[in-house]
C-alpha cells in the first residue's frame, strides 16, 4: 500500500517536470544582459523570502512577489529597488524609462503607455509616490537590481495554476470604497489628483518661495530624497548633509571637491565620478530630464544642509 502510494507520488513527480509541460525555466529569461538564474541567487542571498512570499511561501510581512513584474513593470521596479525606503515618484519611473534596455523590456517608452500597460504601477505612483515604505534600504551591488528584475520576470512568467486568485471586485475606486467606506472614497481621490502631475508640480513649485524652498520641493518630487538623506544617514547614495564643499574620494582613485560643477556633472552624468563606497550605475543620468534652473535650485538647497 505504502509502496503503491510512493509509486503514484514518483510518477506524478516525473510528470511535473517534463519538458513538454512548457513550464518556464530561469535560463530562458533575461532582462537586458542579466539572467534570471543569477537573480535567483541574489534573491536568496538577501533572504527576500523571510519578509515576502514567493509562489505564496515565505513570510507574510511584504506582498507576494511572484507576479510583481507583470503588475509593475521593469521601470517601476528599477526605480524602487535601489532605494526601497521610499515609494518611487512618477519622475523616478520616467527617468528609468529613458534607459533603452528598460524601455525595450517594458515594450513602451512613454509614461502614459507604461501606466496603460502596468496599471498597478500607476496606482502605486499616484497613491504612494514619495512616501516612506516599511522596507529597509538594501545596499545592492552593481548589477544586482537588474538581476533581481530578471528573476521576477521569470516568476511572473511561471504558470502557478491561477494563484494568486484574480481580483474580481472591479475598479480601484470601487475597491477603495469597499475598503474604506463611502466617505473615504472622495478622500482617496484627493492624493491621486495632487500627485498625478509631478511635472506640473515642479514647474508650479518654481513660483513659490525662494530657490532653497524650490530645491527642497524638487528633492521630493524628483525622488532625490529616496537615495540621498539630509540627516547624515548613509542610504543608497551619499548623504547631502554637509556635502557641499567637502572632498570626496572617488571610485578608481582621485578626489573631487563638491562644488557647483561637480554637482551639475553628478546630476547629468552621475557615473562619471562616483564616490568611493557606492556602486556604479545605480543613479540614472538626468540629462534632458531636468532644467538648469532646477539644478540651481537643488544646489541652493544642498548648500543649506
Amino acid at each position: 500500500m505504502l509502496g503503491l502510494m510512493m509509486l503514484v507520488f514518483i510518477v506524478l513527480s516525473g510528470f511535473s517536470f517534463l519538458g513538454s509541460r512548457n513550464q518556464v525555466t530561469p535560463d530562458e529569461i533575461t532582462f537586458g544582459t542579466h539572467y534570471a538564474t543569477d537573480g535567483k541567487k541574489i534573491f536568496q542571498a538577501y533572504n527576500c523570502m523571510d519578509c515576502h512570499t514567493i509562489v505564496g511561501n515565505g513570510a507574510y510581512l511584504g506582498p507576494d512577489l511572484t507576479k510583481k513584474y507583470a503588475a509593475l513593470g521593469p521601470a517601476w521596479l528599477a526605480a524602487f529597488l535601489p532605494s526601497a525606503n521610499m515609494w518611487p515618484t512618477e519622475f523616478a519611473v520616467q527617468t528609468q524609462l529613458k534607459d533603452k534596455d528598460i524601455a525595450a523590456d517594458a515594450g513602451v517608452d512613454t509614461i502614459e503607455a507604461y501606466y496603460e500597460k502596468y496599471p498597478e504601477a500607476k496606482e502605486r505612483v499616484q497613491r504612494r509616490g514619495g512616501k516612506p515604505t516599511y522596507m529597509p534600504t538594501l545596499r545592492f551591488r552593481a548589477g544586482e537590481v537588474s538581476q533581481l528584475i530578471a528573476f521576477l520576470k521569470y516568476t511572473s512568467a511561471m504558470n502557478t495554476e491561477g494563484w494568486p486568485p484574480k481580483v474580481m471586485t472591479g475598479s480601484l475606486e470601487h475597491r477603495l470604497e469597499l475598503l474604506h467606506g463611502r466617505v473615504a472614497g472622495s478622500a482617496a481621490a484627493t492624493p491621486a489628483g495632487s500627485s498625478s502631475a509631478p511635472g506640473a508640480a515642479t514647474s508650479a513649485g518654481g513660483g513659490a518661495g525662494g530657490a532653497v524652498e524650490r530645491g527642497a520641493q524638487l528633492a521630493q518630487t524628483l525622488g532625490c530624497a529616496a537615495c540621498h538623506s539630509t540627516d547624515g544617514k548613509k542610504i543608497t547614495g551619499p548623504t547631502w548633509k554637509g556635502i557641499y564643499g567637502s572632498h570626496e574620494k572617488l571610485v578608481g582613485g582621485g578626489t573631487a571637491t563638491v562644488d557647483d560643477a561637480y554637482i551639475i556633472e553628478s546630476i547629468l552624468k552621475p557615473n562619471a565620478k562616483v564616490v568611493e563606497g557606492y556602486p556604479e550605475g545605480t543613479m540614472p543620468p538626468y540629462e534632458g530630464l531636468v532644467t538648469d534652473e532646477q539644478i540651481q535650485d537643488l544646489i541652493a538647497y544642498i548648500k543649506t544642509l
Binding site: F15, Q44, A45, D50, Y134, R175, L179
Partner: protein
C-alpha cells in the same frame, strides 16, 4: 551521562527563551525582519530537535534496558549543537549584506529559503550530527528481532530524519523544483518523521507515567505511524498546488491530506483511553499537562486547522496569508514544543531526584496554562487577522502595508504581541522552574501543599471522571467548529464575496469558527485536567478502596 541529557533539554529551553524574545514585532533597524524571522524559525526547529534528541536518548536506554552506547559521542554532539547554533545565528545576519557565500554553485553561509535558511556548512555539520544520533540510538537498541513498536518508531524516526535532511542540501535553479524539494524536507520532516517520533515518545511517556505496558500502547503506536505515512506521503501534494507544479496535484493533495488528521484523532483517542486505564492520581502533573496539551493541539492545530486549508478551493485563499501561521504556530509549537517540554518535566525530576513526582508542581502547572493559552491566543490573532487579510489582499487586491492593509489589521497585530507576551512569560516560568527543580524541592518541601489542600469535594460537576462519550462529544465540537472554519475559507469563492466584495459571510463564519474552536479546546483541556486532578482528592478521601480500583482498572 544522564546529566548530559539533562543539559540537552536545558539547551533546548534556553533556546526557547531566545526564540520567544525574537518574536518579529520589532521592525527594521539594525536587525531586519528577515534575519529575525529566519532565526525565529531556525531556533524553533533546533530547540525542538534538541528536545527530541534529549528525550530519545533518555527513553532509549529505559526502553531497551541497556546502557546508552558511546556516551562520549553524545558529549561531542552536545557541544556540536551549541557551536552550530551559534554559527547559524551568526550567519543569518549576512542576508542584510546579501552575502550567501556562493562557492562551487552552493550557498555555504546562508541559503535564504524559508525553514532551511542555514547554509551548506550548517547543513553538513547537522547531517554529521544526525548520523551520530542514528549510530548511538541504533547501538543502544537491542537486536532488531527484539524491537517493540516504540523501538521501530524511534529507530525509523531517527534514520528518516537524516535521510530527509539530504533533500535540502543542494541548490536548485528552478523555483518550482526548488519548492518541490524544499517541501520534501519541511513536509516529510514534520509529517513523516517528527510525527512518528512524536507518536513514539507520547507512547513511551504514557507507559512511564501510567505504568501501562508497552504492549498496550504498542498497537496504537503501530497504527498511528502507519496512518501518518499512508496519508502524509501523498499529502505532501498539498504543498504543490501553486508553486508551478501541474494542476493534478490539487486533486491528490486535497484527497490525501484530508486524511492526515486520522492518525491524530487516533492518537487523541488513545491518550484518553490510556489516561483512564486506571484511576491512580497523577504523580507528575506538569509532564502529563504538557503531553495532553501536545496531543490536543496536534488535533486542533495540525489536524483541524490543517484540514481547513488543505483543499485547493480553501488553500487558494489561505495560502500566503496570516491564516497559515495560525495553523503553523499551533501545529509546530503546540504539537512538538509542548511534547518535549512534557518529556523534560518527566526526565528532569527523575534525573535530579530519582523519583517522578517529588517536586513542587505549582510553577509547572502555571507555566503550562500560560504557554497553552498564549499559543492559542496567538493562533486566534493570526487566524482572525488572516481572515481580514484575505479579504483585503486577495478579494480587494490591496497590499500596501502602511496604507491599506495595516490599519485594518492593527488590532490583530496588537493581539499577536499580547499573546506572544503571555507565551513568553510562560516560557520564562517553565525555564526557571526546570532549571531550579532540584533545589526548589529542598526549599519548599515543607510548604508543599498536601493533597488535602485541594478541596476534597465529591467528584461531580466539572471534575467528575471524564467518560468516553463526553470526550467524544468535545472532539465532535472541535470538528464542528473546524468545519465552520472550512466553510469560512470556502465562502471566499462565492460571487457575493469575490465579485460583489461583501465580506459579511466569511467574517461571520470566522468569527464563530475560530473563537469557538479555540474556546472548546481550552475548556476541554481544563475539563480533562480537572478530572485528572480530582483523583488526588479522591485518593485523599478514600485511601482504602483505591488500590483495588487501580488493580481493577488496570485490567480493563
Amino acid at each position: 551521562m544522564l546529566m548530559l541529557i539533562l543539559f540537552f533539554v536545558q539547551v533546548g529551553l534556553g533556546l526557547l527563551l531566545a526564540l520567544q524574545h525574537n518574536d518579529p514585532t520589532l521592525l527594521a533597524g539594525t536587525l531586519n525582519f528577515n534575519v529575525v524571522r529566519s532565526t525565529h524559525l531556525n531556533l524553533g526547529l533546533i530547540w525542538i530537535l534538541s528536545g527530541f534528541i534529549g528525550s530519545i536518548l533518555y527513553v532509549g536506554p529505559l526502553l531497551s534496558k541497556r546502557e546508552l552506547a558511546s556516551p562520549w559521542l553524545i558529549k561531542f554532539l552536545f557541544y556540536a549543537v551549541v557551536a552550530v547554533t551559534l554559527w547559524n545565528v551568526g550567519t543569518q545576519s549576512l542576508a542584510m549584506q546579501g552575502s550567501a557565500g556562493w562557492w562551487a554553485g552552493q550557498p555555504w553561509l546562508q541559503e535564504g529559503l524559508e525553514y532551511i535558511e542555514g547554509g551548506r556548512v550548517f547543513d553538513v555539520i547537522v547531517l554529521i550530527g544526525f548520523a551520530i544520533l542514528c549510530y548511538v540510538v541504533l547501538r543502544t537498541f537491542p537486536k532488531v528481532r527484539e524491537w517493540n513498536e516504540i523501538h521501530w518508531g524511534l529507530g525509523l524516526g531517527v534514520v528518516a530524519l537524516t535521510v530527509v535532511w539530504l533533500f535540502g542540501m543542494f541548490y536548485v535553479p528552478r523555483v518550482d523544483l526548488q519548492e518541490y524539494f524544499r517541501w520534501f524536507v519541511v513536509h516529510y520532516w514534520v509529517e513523516g518523521v517528527w510525527e512518528v517520533i512524536h507518536i513514539s515518545l507520547v507512547g513511551i511517556l504514557i507507559v512511564l507515567l501510567f505504568k501501562v505496558s508497552v504492549k498496550e500502547v504498542g498497537y496504537a503506536v503501530f497504527w498511528g505511524i502507519l496512518l501518518v505515512w499512508l496519508s502524509g506521503l501523498l499529502g505532501n501534494a498539498h504543498h504543490y498546488f501553486w508553486v508551478g507544479t501541474p494542476e493534478f496535484w490539487q486533486f491528490w493533495g486535497s484527497l490525501f491530506s484530508a486524511l492526515e488528521p486520522l492518525p491524530m484523532i487516533f492518537c487523541f483517542w488513545h491518550i484518553y483511553l490510556d489516561a483512564h486505564a486506571n484511576r491512580k492520581p497523577l504523580e507528575n502533573a506538569p509532564a502529563f499537562y504538557f503531553i495532553l496539551g501536545s496531543v490536543v493541539l496536534e488535533q486542533v492545530g495540525a489536524g483541524i486547522l490543517g484540514f481547513t486549508m488543505t483543499f485547493a478551493l480553501t488553500n487558494v485563499w489561505s495560502h500566503g496569508t496570516w491564516v497559515t501561521p495560525a495553523h503553523g504556530h499551533l501545529a509546530l509549537f503546540g504539537t512538538f514544543g509542548l511534547l518535549v517540554l512534557g518529556a523534560a518535566y518527566y526526565a528532569v525530576p527523575m534525573l535530579r531526584r530519582g523519583k517522578p513526582g517529588d517536586f513542587d508542581q505549582r510553577l509547572g502547572r502555571l507555566g503550562f496554562w500560560l504557554v497553552f493559552s498564549g499559543i492559542i491566543g496567538l493562533a486566534l490573532a493570526f487566524a482572525l487577522g488572516g481572515t481580514v487579510q484575505v479579504y483585503i489582499s486577495r478579494i480587494l487586491g490591496f497590499e500596501w502595508l502602511s496604507g491599506d492593509l495595516m490599519p485594518s489589521m492593527n488590532l490583530y497585530k496588537v493581539l499577536v504581541v499580547s499573546f506572544g507576551f503571555v507565551l513568553t512569560v510562560g516560557a520564562g516560568v517553565i525555564v526557571y522552574d526546570l532549571c531550579t527543580l532540584g533545589r526548589q524541592t529542598e526549599r519548599t518541601k515543607a510548604t508543599e501543599p498536601a493533597p488535602a489542600q485541594i478541596p476534597a469535594r465529591p467528584a461531580t460537576g466539572w471534575s467528575r471522571p471524564l467518560t468516553g462519550f463526553e470526550a467524544g462529544t468535545w472532539l465532535m465540537g472541535m470538528w464542528i467548529f473546524g468545519f465552520i472554519v472550512t466553510f469560512n475559507l470556502l465562502s471566499y469563492n462565492l460571487d457575493i464575496v469575490r465579485v460583489h466584495g461583501d465580506p459579511t459571510l466569511p467574517y461571520v463564519l470566522a468569527g464563530i469558527g475560530y473563537p469557538g474552536l479555540f474556546l472548546t479546546t481550552l475548556l476541554f483541556v481544563w475539563r480533562f485536567l480537572a478530572s485528572m486532578e480530582a483523583r488526588v482528592a479522591e485518593a485523599a478521601l478514600s485511601p482504602a478502596p483505591n488500590p483495588a480500583a487501580v488493580g481493577g482498572g488496570g485490567r480493563a
